[in-house]
Symmetry: C2
Subunit: 369 residues, 2 copies
Amino acid sequence: MKSFNPPSRILMGPGPSDVHPRILNAMAKTTIGHLDPSFIDMMDEIKKMLQYAFMTENALTMPISAPGSAGMEACFVNLVEPGDKVIVCINGVFGSRMKENVTRIGGQVIIIEDDWGMPVSPQKLEQCLHENPDTKIVAFVHAETSTGALSDAKLLCEIAKKYNCLTIVDAVTSLVGSELRVDDWGIDAIYSGSQKCLSAMPGLSPVSFSEKAVHKISNRKTPVTSWFLDLNLVMGYWGKGAKRAYHHTAPVNTLYGLHESLVMLYEEGLENSWNRHQQNHQLLRDGLIELGISYLVEKSSRLPQLNSVFIPEGVNDAEVRTTLLNDYNMEIGAGLGNLAGKIWRIGLMGYTSRKENIELCLSALKKTI
Amino acid sequence: MKSFNPPSRILMGPGPSDVHPRILNAMAKTTIGHLDPSFIDMMDEIKKMLQYAFMTENALTMPISAPGSAGMEACFVNLVEPGDKVIVCINGVFGSRMKENVTRIGGQVIIIEDDWGMPVSPQKLEQCLHENPDTKIVAFVHAETSTGALSDAKLLCEIAKKYNCLTIVDAVTSLVGSELRVDDWGIDAIYSGSQKCLSAMPGLSPVSFSEKAVHKISNRKTPVTSWFLDLNLVMGYWGKGAKRAYHHTAPVNTLYGLHESLVMLYEEGLENSWNRHQQNHQLLRDGLIELGISYLVEKSSRLPQLNSVFIPEGVNDAEVRTTLLNDYNMEIGAGLGNLAGKIWRIGLMGYTSRKENIELCLSALKKTI
């Protein structure tokens, strides 16, 4: 057995995205204890910078010590009690996962479906809430990583609030890449991933919970089914002040990486980051259209950081992706679920979102297809 | 906000332990996709090397993408169904967590208690099984991280087998530091942590499941409450062959680190690693006894990698630990639960288990207490 030396790739899939050398270097810094006073200071900085990224004052804002799927689960297992009626809006793979989460913990799910590639329909949500006024929670995906569709989170939350529902929002792909305002939009629970537009390495899930959400969590009638994700316990470790209760051993070095990626976000500025993702998307889009490649998603709800495009007719999906990987060290994403073999997902997330990558991608695609 | 530069510590607490520079360097290697063919090859090597570390041929041997607490939860949520009778042996903090896991998913718990610092009593287990022949699972901690006590896993499993029970074993602190033979001892489900005797960074939990355990998981009557930890799904990603189904985004760089730590284990040899931990323990023990410091745990069940010792009378717990940290950059562990303020836990795990650390620790303690 020998040490592993990964090839150098350009990550233009749906995540992970390219990790900046500064973040990689941060990962290699010497490990310290998860209760070390300097580590706790760093945790506080991470919380503060995540508040900035989420545009929230929520005290309960922190990273879950596991990937985005665990962040999703943290939201559902803490907020849903058995029997609670939950509306889940499904317009792709990740909406279906939300449904899975609710049913496994005994929630009562009502599904609203939209075609893959379409945003979540606010009209359908309003209608459904009208018919189900006893709904407790509305859950939807802000940026569907399986399709590249962006939904109107602000409007969907407004509607949910009218019916006194809490909202759970998947922002795995949107955070830092698209406009997202947790407090202004009234989002109650939100989860994201470290490895998309934050360009830190995969393995962490930033989350944030409103006071209303925390109130519900603190006043549950039944215990949270997951001990690891029970926020009543996790809060004791990520909580206020210098006194922290041991819950689990935090992934110390991965948190160094997240910290560095957030420092870089501060340096760039949040709105500048949104704009960079938008501008680079336009560059890629123009080039793709020139190659005769068209988008799955309508312009109005297209995610800048994840370009879902139809595989041109007569082109072999796997062959092209393999050629890009082997000849250009470039990874682009395959379609998921119903869209497998039909689309590619070209990511321009975080550090990947740079002109040189767009140029190379277009040039390589031109020669390959 | 500025980049974080951690102080350089010597980690002689209950984990994380010092991470070898080779492993830190591995963490900083360029991130690649979690479905990249070369990443999948690396995953296969990790599985093979974990089989070596656990001394098992179990096909389902892999790291869970989250800390040890999640590994514990993976074992319980997959193997326990609502109503299942589970005997949990408690002789410290981590046995109590096992109980929490069982009750939260609706299992019926029977507790066997032993004093903190004592090993689990095989007699009590046998008696309890005799009285509860319908027990499905026996769960215990091999190496109690809260007390430094080692239990006789081989004998406990033998007893459990006589009563046709599956066994779940916590090996967070024992793996690679103490003798542990999963197949020979007939362990059905086992979980560990990356940050103890493996000396990789925290954030991963190696697990292994016997064929009997996999059979139970594949034939459950109820769905696993956790989507993230449902091994029926996780197996699709960590499974056999080149074809892997996306489940969650693996913590790519952290897995590089685990891979490197396992390569180093191969180089040293598993039994050599056990012996090194034992020999260095003796060195530390002799020095501590010379300082008039005594052990919580009887010699016969003392963990070499985690030395739980009484705080000498008149000595201020927090003051000493703070002085060690500030003046010597050395972290030792406080007591947990009932033992807070009464004991220190001095770790000699993995890369920390070196003569120079023992020498410095003894010398610093002498000057401080």
